[in-house]
Symmetry: C2
Subunit: 211 residues, 2 copies
Amino acid sequence: MNKPVPDPRPYHHGDLSRALVDAARRILETQGPTALSLRAVAREAGVSPAAPYHHFKDKDQLLEAVAHEGWTALDAALAKARAEAKNARDRLTSIGVAYVCFARDNPALYRVMYDGARNKDSLPEQLKDDGAYCQVRNTIAAQSDDTVTDIDLELATIAAWCAGHGLAEMIGFKQFEPLKQALGGEQAFLRAVFEHLGMFAKYDHGVLQTD
Amino acid sequence: MNKPVPDPRPYHHGDLSRALVDAARRILETQGPTALSLRAVAREAGVSPAAPYHHFKDKDQLLEAVAHEGWTALDAALAKARAEAKNARDRLTSIGVAYVCFARDNPALYRVMYDGARNKDSLPEQLKDDGAYCQVRNTIAAQSDDTVTDIDLELATIAAWCAGHGLAEMIGFKQFEPLKQALGGEQAFLRAVFEHLGMFAKYDHGVLQTD
DNA sequence: ATGTTATCTAAACGCTGTCCAGATAGGACC
DNA sequence: GGTCCTATCTGGACAGCGTTTAGATAACAT
């Protein structure tokens, strides 16, 4: 009576869960979010429409797996930006720019990531443990002195995260085009917006004025 | 040969366009965005599934009409907050809080509003002319001195708008619950996050340091 | 070799957005 | 008032969707 472990062993197909997630990401990249149906994913993976149900409870759970990979990729992108920042002064801004650029470069994936979060009214736990959100908090903490309370740190992280997300969702909006051009490119535009949030500069001094 | 003007005259039904938009909003409020199908709207309005096509090109155009009313309602909410702000000092923060509260109180409508915007990669023109976005810019402008350039003003408005939107999309996230409690309520939490964005305080002095 | 069980297919259900042919009814013109 | 036009609405259809069910198949344990 060997217990039926939910193992990822290759059976008929080989590794269908993997293949399905890959197929989904391929469709997302080439045809966008509206083309991402369960049937289309199955078609792309070369199986029947019902096959995915042996690996995922429903469509949402497949999208969750896709989103999980998205968050992991975001982790990596932020870590890279953090490591490459020339100096501590603009480390947080660089992370912010990297965040928005990730969303700009993977718009469909980014949408799936936040669709999942909104449906559950929760960011994935992944982020808190050692992920992107944690990186932002650590970066802010490193720039703060010891007068900054835990609550302030958390509030600042939330503020930074929300600002990044807001900008990420709107970066492609055509209303911003003239401004981007006036500032000499998207990167300059992003840095300028982040700097106008003030908070990023504020923490340079290691001082947080809550009033 | 009287030209067939696209007039909103009551024909068989009376004013089906109106009735459809109202039906859609009713469904949004009571059953959420996932229940909002064209057929459900037609059902709610008491007409056949094909009837809406004489008033809207497709489902997206009906949603656009719904979104338009949403943006108008947001205009009013921000105007109210702006008028009621006790002093100039926290006028911008009050507007920000009102923005997020609007999204929290009308989550389904807010979602339709931004779904439409994202699909067109553009905020509605409505906002620029005399709407909510314009109100934010005017409020910031009123707090700035004359050393602030037009570009700075635009950047600050974008920053504020994005921060508000980011917070609006995440305000319901369960990760923030403990912090809300620690600060004694949602309103206090919102004000605290906005204040940690720094920018709001920054403009109090009427000085904008771009470097 | 046998039996068990995970895996996959084929077919079906009810739902969706959208289109078409035909019925109907309001307004314009004589 | 009668006639025509055209906007409006219905019923029926189509393809596609997410999901379920029953049955075939193939890998594994014994």
